[in-house]
């Protein structure tokens, strides 16, 4: 498979530095996509008491959310897999990504990256994110009703094609030169809950890893819809059908902002970011960012360390996952209920804001201490937020869960 548009990665094909750059770009993309997917899933209503959905529609809505979460979980696997690939060839796991929104020109993908609630537009963008390279983008855009000027063209680079470039470089560099990373840096399923994650040590395992990623995204053969692409395509059709059948009273999506941010640091104001002005909502959004930031640092730490210290590594990874599912997720849901402006109906949503790149150091005792300090600070901050009567029950649950797992971990 040849890549169209090798993009701005520097160096010839047989360059390790080029390969490291491409892998880092893949990390940014997987990470950015998964945040978009999570945001859309969060924006779907949960309870009948929110109104706008019947119980039959609620079945579908929860199923749609579940499907999108499942795709997001696979993107997390892809991110972790990219980290293993990086570690295998002398790189370091990379957790950073640019803020939302990003205009289409930021990546060769030529699609904007944004946090937008579930909608036909959002789903059309998701379909295009996962488009297999075997399909012409303008044909697919026409098929799903996306305006041609919003669509990438065959000259742009799909996610699959990015991975194909990565594979190209892997094949071009002599195997014994390329795979100089220590095998103990490879993270497997016994350390972190990612089924099918490949420990990379040679061309064969690297190829298997990349084929797994591409297969999950765009399928393994023509007409294979058992992949992200197929799932989003079906979801789009399903949603459209349900909207038609349900009419104006079918409102399954919460009223949440596009690209919520806690501060406007630069150009994003002109590209569609929404500043969270209401102070409590803003404080909660900052809290979300803080937990998200720590969780990423802990995951990166786990992937930067040798599995010979497997106890620490496993604990670090486990904390990150527990934080994601029992702390971060409920805060995100709390934010879906807090207003952007005081007294307004538009709600905030989780900003997935990363402002600075602050990796944990590799030395275990130092990293452990830094995490402990930070967790203590976050417990205090969380309790403070919960003293406010505006704190939704989701936020209280999140802080309670955070306190519980900090206590369980403290010797």
């Amino acid at each position: 498979m040849t890549a169209r548009g090798t993009g701005r990665a520097p160096g010839p094909v047989a360059s390790r530095s080029r390969l490291l750059t491409l892998l880092s770009e893949a990390c940014e993309l997987e990470h950015g996509l998964l945040c978009s997917y999570l945001y859309a899933a969060f924006s779907l209503k949960q309870d009948l008491s929110e109104g706008g959905i019947t119980w039959q529609q609620q079945q579908k809505v929860r199923w749609w959310a579940g499907q999108i979460y499942a795709v997001a979980a696979e993107e997390m696997l892809h991110l972790a897999q990219a980290w293993n690939l990086l570690a295998a060839i002398g790189g370091t796991p990379y957790y950073y990504r640019p803020g939302f929104p990003q205009p289409a020109a930021h990546y060769d993908l030529n699609l904007p990256l944004a946090l937008t609630p579930f909608s036909e537009d959002t789903l059309m963008r998701f379909v295009m994110y996962e488009l297999p390279s075997r399909i012409d983008p303008l044909d697919m855009a026409r098929e799903i009703g996306l305006a041609a000027d919003q669509s990438p063209t065959a000259c742009d680079t799909t996610v699959g094609e990015l991975y194909a470039s990565i594979l190209e470089s892997i094949d071009a560099i002599p195997e014994t030169d390329l795979f100089l990373g220590s095998p103990e840096r490879q993270i497997g399923q016994n350390v972190v809950d990612f089924p099918g994650i490949v420990r990379v040590k040679d061309r064969e395992s690297a190829t298997a890893a990349i084929e797994m990623i591409m297969g999950q995204g765009e399928g393994t053969q023509k007409d294979d819809l058992n992949c992200h692409f197929g799932m989003f395509l079906r979801l789009l059709a399903d949603y459209r059908a349900e909207r038609k059948a349900g009419g104006a009273s079918f409102t399954p999506v919460r009223s949440v902002a596009h690209n919520p941010v806690t501060r406007l640091a630069g150009f994003e104001y002109h590209h569609g970011a929404t500043l969270i002005e209401e102070p409590f909502a803003c404080a909660t959004a900052n809290y979300f960012n803080a937990i998200y930031d720590l969780m990423l640092r802990q995951l990166q730490f786990a992937f930067s360390n040798s599995t010979e210290c497997s106890d620490i590594v496993t604990r670090s990874a486990k904390h990150a996952i527990v934080a994601m599912t029992t702390v971060l997720k409920p805060i995100g849901e709390a934010l879906m209920l807090l207003p952007v402006k005081a007294g307004g109906t538009l709600c905030a949503g989780p900003p997935f804001g990363l402002f600075r790149y602050v990796p944990l150091p590799p030395e275990i005792p130092i990293a452990t201490r830094i995490v402990r300090e930070r967790l203590a600070e976050l417990v205090v901050e969380g309790n403070e937020l919960c003293r406010d009567e505006r704190a939704p029950v989701y936020l209280r649950n999140a802080v309670r869960n955070l306190v519980a797992y900090v206590q369980a971990d403290t010797p």
Binding site: L48, W63, A65, Y69, A70, T326
Partner: protein
């Protein structure tokens, strides 16, 4: 008792007895279901009693316990009200009586135990491996 008073009173009573946040749109449907049962004919006196206790009691919990829960007159009905909110069903002589599907999906027992109503997804593949968020 006016219809509005009965409904408002039923909401207040339900909130107190269940210890949970009651959806007032569901309350109207549930009040109607209670009234349709043979044990539900005395719901308005129960509501009236609760309202007066709310107003005048110095130890509401104690008074509710002795005058409602432990009372042979009001106790069984109060229990059916609690059961209704928690399970969306009444129970009479080992026969369970459910209402509509959407009432099942709003039964309070499920969020109380950190779970979800059966036949409605709790979220994403594998969520059950981790402890509940709520």
């Amino acid at each position: 008792m006016t219809t509005d008073d009965a409904l408002a009173g039923f909401v207040a009573l339900s909130r107190y007895l269940t210890g949970a946040d009651i959806a007032s749109d569901l309350a109207a449907a549930y009040l109607a279901r209670v009234k349709a049962e043979r044990f539900g004919t005395r719901i308005e006196p129960l509501i009236a009693l609760f309202r007066s206790l709310e107003q005048s009691s110095t130890d509401l919990e104690s008074d509710v316990r002795s005058q409602i829960i432990q009372s042979s007159e009001h106790g069984p009905l109060a229990q059916q009200v609690m059961l209704l909110w928690y399970t969306s069903a009444f129970e009479d002589s080992s026969q369970w009586k459910f209402g509509t599907p959407d009432q099942h999906f709003r039964a309070l027992i499920w969020p109380a135990i950190g779970a979800h109503p059966p036949a409605l997804s709790g979220g994403y593949f594998g969520y059950w491996k981790y402890p509940p968020e709520h």
